[in-house]
Structure formats: C-alpha cells, structure tokens
C-alpha cells in the first residue's frame, strides 16, 4: 500500500501472501482478522493476494502460503500439492495443519466405515484418515496452537519479512504459566499437560484456570514418562491423560503408547 519497505537500510520485499484452508474450522484465519488494533499495519507489511474467507480477488503466485487445516480427503492432497508448487514458503497454520488437530481424533477408531455411518448413515461420503500437511508436502514453518496466537503470527510474519530466523520456544508451558504467577492446576485438582507442551502461548489456557490440552504439541525433549507419572500421582486415570494427549495429534505417538497400555479404549490403527 505504501512505498518500498526497508529495515536498517536493507530494502525488503513486501511478500505476496495467500491464505488457504483444508479441513478446519477456519478459526486460525479468523484470528488474523481479530487483530483489530494492528490489522492495518499488518496489511501494509504484506500483500494479501489470496484470502477466500475475506476477499474475492485471487492470485496464483505467492511468496508465503499459510495453510490451515488438515488433509482428510483425496482432493485436498491435490489442492495442497498445487499450493506448494506456487509458494516459496509454506506455513502450516495451527494445530490441524501441524498435527491433524481435533480432526485426527477419528483416526483412533479402527473403522472408517463405522465413522461414516455414525454421522451420515448410508449416504455415501468420502473421507480418509486424517494427516498433517507435512505427510504430503514440505512444510517450511509451523505455527502451533488451537487457535494460533495472533501476536505470534505477527511476530513470525515480521521476522519473515525482515529475514530474521523464526524461533519457537523450546521449553514447556509451565515456564510461562509460572511467570504469570498462576496457581499450579495440579494443586487445584485439575489435570494439565503444561509440563510437556511447547510454550509460546503465554500459558493462554492455564492463566484462565483451564488445564493444558497440548494443542501446541510436545516441547523439545518433553519428559512424557514423567508426565504420565504425575497424572497418576495426582489421581488422574490414563483415560484422562489420553483425552488430552490425543486431542490435537501433537502427542500422537505417545498417545499410542498410553493407549496400548490402556486396553479399554479402541487401539489406533497402525500406520502402514
């Protein structure tokens, strides 16, 4: 919109940005419109060329493609591959794109036909096992969270434009939760995945006294065995632990382990 961008004398290219969605609630994209205070600055920093939820104009090339949602149908693989072809940088936006999100909860049933029948009866409907984007295309950058945090997206976009290395916190949510001087939810009798979930959300849920469900996936080197131990010490069943571990898909492999030790719930179909 305005003239040439630059930072510390380095001329910068205003990136052409596209937003795309596969199977999702489209909430992560909406979060960008929820940037009321900074929306106009944001629009000055990038050139949005594709944003179906918000605009009619479309373009076919873009520097950065933000893709929300997970892959749950064959035509989405085609769309995703197409987006990848036209994008210099492909960003997985939100937990669905990074891990499969809540959608991948259906993978825990052995039987996809049962899933279809449960919702659509005998009406024919197409679906497949849920996958994150990285199962099909190269993902250059992941923005975690359900939903994503708009401040984080703004920081990441600014860093991309300026050419700074994008870094995610490697430590778990506990770090940010304590820095907010919250009461540990275990003290209050609530289960929480904060000790193993990647931070960066500023303890969004736990600061509201809601235990962490691990939407941002595991922290680097997360001590999952100890997490399980803690849940038991505080009197929470494997099922309660599993509800959280499997909710967004970031902890899928550990959820498998817990599930195999917890025979009451149906086992996840082994990936071929």
């Amino acid at each position: 919109m305005s003239g040439q961008l630059s930072y510390l004398g380095i001329p910068l290219v205003r990136p052409k940005v596209g937003f795309f969605e596969l199977s999702s609630c489209e909430g992560c994209q909406l979060q960008l419109l929820n940037n009321e205070a900074t929306l106009l600055d944001f629009l000055n920093l990038v050139e949005i060329v594709n944003f179906r939820e918000g605009m009619s104009e479309r373009a076919d090339t873009y520097d950065i493609a933000f893709v929300e949602g997970s892959v749950t149908r064959k035509d989405e693989i085609t769309r995703l591959t197409e987006i990848r072809k036209h994008a210099k940088i492909l960003v997985a936006l939100g937990s669905c794109a990074c891990f499969g999100g809540v959608n991948q909860l259906k993978n825990r049933f052995r039987d996809l036909d049962w899933v279809k029948k449960e919702v659509y009866g005998d009406f024919p409907i197409e679906t497949m096992e849920v996958h994150p984007l990285a199962d099909f295309v190269q993902v250059d950058l992941e923005i975690f969270g359900c939903p994503i945090k708009k401040e984080e997206v703004e920081r990441i976009v600014t860093d991309l434009v300026v050419g700074k290395t994008v870094r995610h916190p490697e430590y778990p949510v506990c770090m940010e939760c304590k820095a907010n001087e919250n009461i540990c939810l275990f003290e209050l009798g609530e289960p929480c995945l904060g000790p193993v979930t990647r931070a960066g959300c500023d303890a969004w849920c736990t600061s509201n006294r809601r235990g962490c469900w691990g939407c941002r996936g595991p922290a680097e080197g997360a001590n999952l065995n100890q997490m399980k131990e803690i849940m038991h010490i505080y009197g929470f069943s494997n099922e309660i632990l599993l509800d959280r571990l499997e909710c967004f898909g970031g902890f899928a492999s550990f959820a498998d382990t817990v599930r195999s030790q917890n025979k009451k719930t149906p086992a996840r179909k082994k990936k071929s």
Partner: protein, 424 residues
C-alpha cells in the same frame, strides 16, 4: 436483450467454508440453479463417541472458528441438561453476556468485512481501508470491543477457555466489566452510524415466502434455550429439536439439509427478528423500522439489516446484564458436576441461527451418541430454493452474467453461511 446466462462460482469467497453456485439460463428459461456444499466433513459426532463428558464442549467448540462460543455454550447446555444441572443466575447472565459479545463480533465481521464490499462495489475490505477509512475504523472499533469482552468473560475470543460444564473456571474482574460497560455505551453512536450507512445501500428487491424458525422468547429476545417456534405455527420443546429439523442427506451437499412445514425453512437473524420482534430493545425496534424491516419480512437480503438491528439490541441488553452482575457480589464461579446416565439437548441462537447439540451418556458419563444440527445446514435447502427463485425472477430481464452472479453471491452471503460448521 440478453436471455441466456452462465454463472459458475467455485468456492464462493467471503464466506466461511467451501460452497459453489451454478446458474444456467437458456433463452429465458432456468436450466439449472444450484447451491452446492463441497466442504470436507470432519465427523465431530463420531469423534466424541467413547469420550468422557468434559471433552464435549472442548472438542465441539472447535466445530467453528466464528461461533466457537455458541458451540461451546450449546454443548455445555446439552451436557448440563443431560445431568440435570441448572446454571446459577450468575452463570446464566455471564453466558448470555458472552453470547451477546459473540453475536456483536460476528455480525460486525459479516456486515463490514463480508457483506459491505458488495454494496460498495469492491472485492474486499482492503480497498475500503483506503477509500473509506472511517468506515473500516468504525468496524474495527466495534469488533475490538466485542472481542475484548469475549476475552474478559470467556478467557479467549476464539475457542473460549473459561467456559465449562457447571459454570466458569474463573470470573472476570469487576473493574474490567465496568470498562466494557462504558465502551458499550460509547459504541451506540457507531451503531447508529452503521445504520445510516446501511440506509445508503441498495438492498436487492427480492422476496420468497419462507418459513422462519427460531427460539421463542417469553420475556426476553431469545438466545440460550427455551421453546422452538416457526412462522408457520409449529411450536416444540427444546428436546424435540429433531421434529423441528428433520435432517436428511442429499446429492451435492456434504452437509445435511433440513425441512419443516415446507420444502425448506430459514434460521438466523431475520428468523429471530420475524418471530420475536416485540422483544427487541425499543431502540433496536426503531432502527429496524427506520431501515424498513418489520415482521414478517421475506426478503433474505434483509438478513443483513436484521443483524444490524440485533447488534443494537445486544449492546443495550449487555449493559443491563453487566449492571445486574455488578450489582451483587461474585458467587462461586462453578458448581460441582455429577455425571449420570441420560441424554440432553442444548439449543442456542448463534449468529447464523438456531444451533442444537445433543448427547447421550452412559452411566460413566461417556458419550454414546452425539448429534449437532448447525444453523447453516438448516439454511442450505432454503438458500438453494432462493437461488432457484432468484434465477427465475431475473431470467429474461436482460441482466448481465456478472450482475446475476453478484446477486446470487450476495444472496448466499446474506445468510452469512458458516459452511465448514454446517458440515462439521
């Protein structure tokens, strides 16, 4: 004169989710007029099966990114109804306030970001930031107010964190509520200015007699729970929602469809207003009349106006709710929950219409059956019939393809469809 027309819109823009419009007119005769929903289903109703009750609102809130608060509240209500829990007056008031703020946020988003560009002849809100900065600033101001309020009450504007079965995990600071109250009062001029703006818009002249379904207000304009009503005179209880929706599957729709007394019916702001006009705040009624909206109005494009009227209503009602909340000391935020075998329905008026969640639990409090009926899926058949009628009305009038395309797009947008939500 132009008597043929081809409209083929793949993945309609400025709506939530993926839908296609096809219109084909040959020599003044409508050959085809279609509304298709191609969104990928996510199978939320199956996802919940076998899950402990506390998962339901947490997971189901994620059906929709726009009305996640509404979904969460409908889900919580269904669980509470199944367990026989009645929310405390404090909880009920806070929930309604949160609901109002979602309504305000969603309506403003729709009116200014999704609908207004059509009336102003642009493709999106982006050019408006330059050509009509005061309009965009006003929209952002109103949206920010609503979103801030959602953060304060629900913990988060999207996928709220504090809303749980039994109440809230945490209560807002009273000082923060007081600030929201002041900002609400200060927003009235913005809303009246919005009304003036909409008076300048040429609402397309189109009408098709429609059955309108909504919650039925007794003493207040209805948003959470209560009886179900239709303009054709059907009255049902909340738990009889299936008789009101009669869901079925059809070719061309990954979403389910609904019908009642006729082939289709409509839900949403226009339906609520048509059924509950006298319960609107007096100022909202005045605004409505000044914009030419009096019940029963059968022009689907008037849904935009109904949304604006509701914005006025919720702002005034929210001020009253805050006064009530500030008028007494905080009680416990949350009551204990005892799971039990049973089933429950939660009906909530979300921005796009009436939303139902239904769960059946076993004695361990685990979901054995879930059903969610989304407003947009109730509207789909009606949108389809509207498009057919629209095509017929304009077939042979000599309109250009693009004009008819725009009218069709605007028609769908007027319903503010939440397509991914309708497929869920």
């Amino acid at each position: 004169m132009k008597f043929s027309c081809e409209v083929d819109v793949r993945h309609l823009t400025r709506v939530e989710g993926h839908g296609n419009i096809t219109i084909s007119i040959k020599n003044g005769v409508v050959k085809k007029a279609q509304w298709e929903v191609v969104e990928t289903p996510r199978f939320f109703e199956a996802l919940l099966v076998g899950k402990h009750w506390e998962n339901a609102p947490y997971i189901c809130g994620r059906i929709c990114g726009i009305c996640s608060i509404g979904h969460t509240l409908a889900s919580i209500r269904a669980v509470e109804n199944a367990f026989g829990i009645t929310p405390s007056p404090q909880t009920a008031n806070l929930r309604l306030l949160l609901k109002h703020m979602e309504t305000l946020q969603s309506h403003i988003l729709h009116l200014y970001f999704l609908a207004a560009p059509d009336f102003l002849g642009v493709g999106s809100v982006l050019p408006l930031a330059k050509s009509h900065p005061e309009v965009v600033q006003r929209a952002l101001r109103l949206k920010l107010l609503a979103n801030d309020a959602c953060d304060i009450i629900g913990g988060r504007r999207l996928h709220p964190t504090r809303t749980v079965v039994g109440g809230f995990t945490m209560l807002p600071e009273k000082g923060e509520l007081e600030k929201i109250r002041q900002r609400l009062l200060a927003s009235v001029p913005d809303l009246l200015a919005s009304a003036e703006l909409f008076k300048t818009f040429g609402i397309p002249d189109f009408s098709r007699e429609t059955e309108f379904v909504s919650l039925k207000g007794e003493t207040d304009y209805p948003f959470i729970g209560g009886g179900l009503v239709s303009t054709d005179g059907v009255l049902k209880k909340e738990h009889q929602y299936r008789g009101m929706t009669n869901e079925y599957c059809a070719e061309g729709f990954t979403s389910k469809l609904s019908k009642l007394s006729r082939a289709s019916f409509a839900v949403g702001a226009l339906a609520r207003l048509n059924n509950n006009f006298p319960l609107l705040h007096p100022t909202a009624q005045e605004v409505s009349k000044s914009l030419g909206l009096v019940p029963v109005n059968h022009n689907p494009y008037m849904c935009n106006v109904a949304q604006l009227v509701e914005c006025v209503h919720v702002v005034f009602d929210s001020v009253q709710l805050i006064d009530t909340l500030l008028g007494s000391p905080w009680q416990e935020p949350r009551q204990p929950v005892q799971a039990k075998k049973g089933e429950g329905v939660g009906a909530v008026e979300v921005p796009r219409g009436i939303l139902y969640h239904y769960y059946k639990f076993n004695s361990h409090g685990k979901v054995i059956k879930a059903d969610c009926v989304i407003p947009t899926s109730q509207n789909h058949a009606n949108i389809l019939h509207d498009i057919e009628a629209l095509a017929s009305q304009y077939a042979g009038t000599g309109k250009q393809d693009r004009e008819i395309e725009l009218l069709a797009e605007m028609l769908v947008r007027a319903y503010d469809p939440c397509i991914s939500c309708s497929v869920h």
